[in-house]
């Protein structure tokens, strides 16, 4: 039960982190990583972007929860279980970021989800 709860926390904080970072990045507007002069401007924009920073915070939460659950649960259980994140995050993309996801993209995402789960098994 404790393990299930921790896995749920990991999955949701990872998905939240991805969605917040994506929302933040979209607000920063088009970034050019190829121009050195724009990196300083970009760094300032990133540091003043609440969505992006909360995304990073959620990534830290997910990492902490991951380390804590590993103190009693097996990695071979935790790692495959967290691959559900792909489905949850894609659902978040649809509902929160209003991305249009067609059947092909869903199918691909489920293949990835199953593949990541299989790879993480011992």
């Amino acid at each position: 039960m404790k393990t299930t709860l921790m896995i749920a926390i990991i999955v949701f904080s990872t998905a939240a982190s991805d969605i917040l970072i994506a929302r933040g990045a979209r607000r920063v507007k088009r970034l050019s990583v190829f121009k050195l002069s724009e990196i300083a401007v970009m760094a300032r924009r990133i540091l003043s972007n609440v969505s992006l920073l909360s995304g990073v915070l959620m990534a830290a939460v997910s990492f902490a929860a991951f380390l804590i659950v590993l103190s009693w649960a097996d990695l071979s259980l935790v790692l495959p279980a967290t691959s559900v994140n792909y489905a949850i995050a894609t659902l978040g993309c649809k509902v929160i970021l209003r991305e249009r996801i067609n059947r092909l993209r869903w199918t691909g995402t489920f293949f990835v989800c199953a593949g990541v789960a299989l790879i993480s098994l011992p």
Binding site: A25, V28, R100, R105, G108, V112, I119
Partner: protein, 142 residues
Amino acid sequence: MKTVTVLVLSVLFQTAGNLLVSRGMKQLAATSPWETTPWLSFSLQMAASPSVWLGTLLLIIFFILYAALLSWADLSFVLPASSFGYVLNVALAHYLLLEPVSMSRWFGTMLISIGVVLVSMTGTQSAELVKEEAVSQSGVPG
């Protein structure tokens, strides 16, 4: 094309960064296990490890590239598409570190590859999806 370039670069930086940090931490743990070493001395040793520094730098570059990518591409595209990093990890572990790779792991690698190909076929932005759907459903009032 720009999306694919930045995506591949970000995954390469992430994989290299993870490998370096992992190598640095393992070297550190071999000389001073963190259970018995005081945390301050452990942190100082960590800060003195070139592998950890270089790995962290690569992970920072990964994050900048990832954020840049998400500023124009869909997360629902980037997330599954970047999972080819797992395939890369399995291949590197097998060919460079000579780790044995089980049957189920190769099968998982295959599933991820199929998934990445399928997701890539949908384009990188919802705008393109919308256009595609409009073309395929032309004649149907929306």
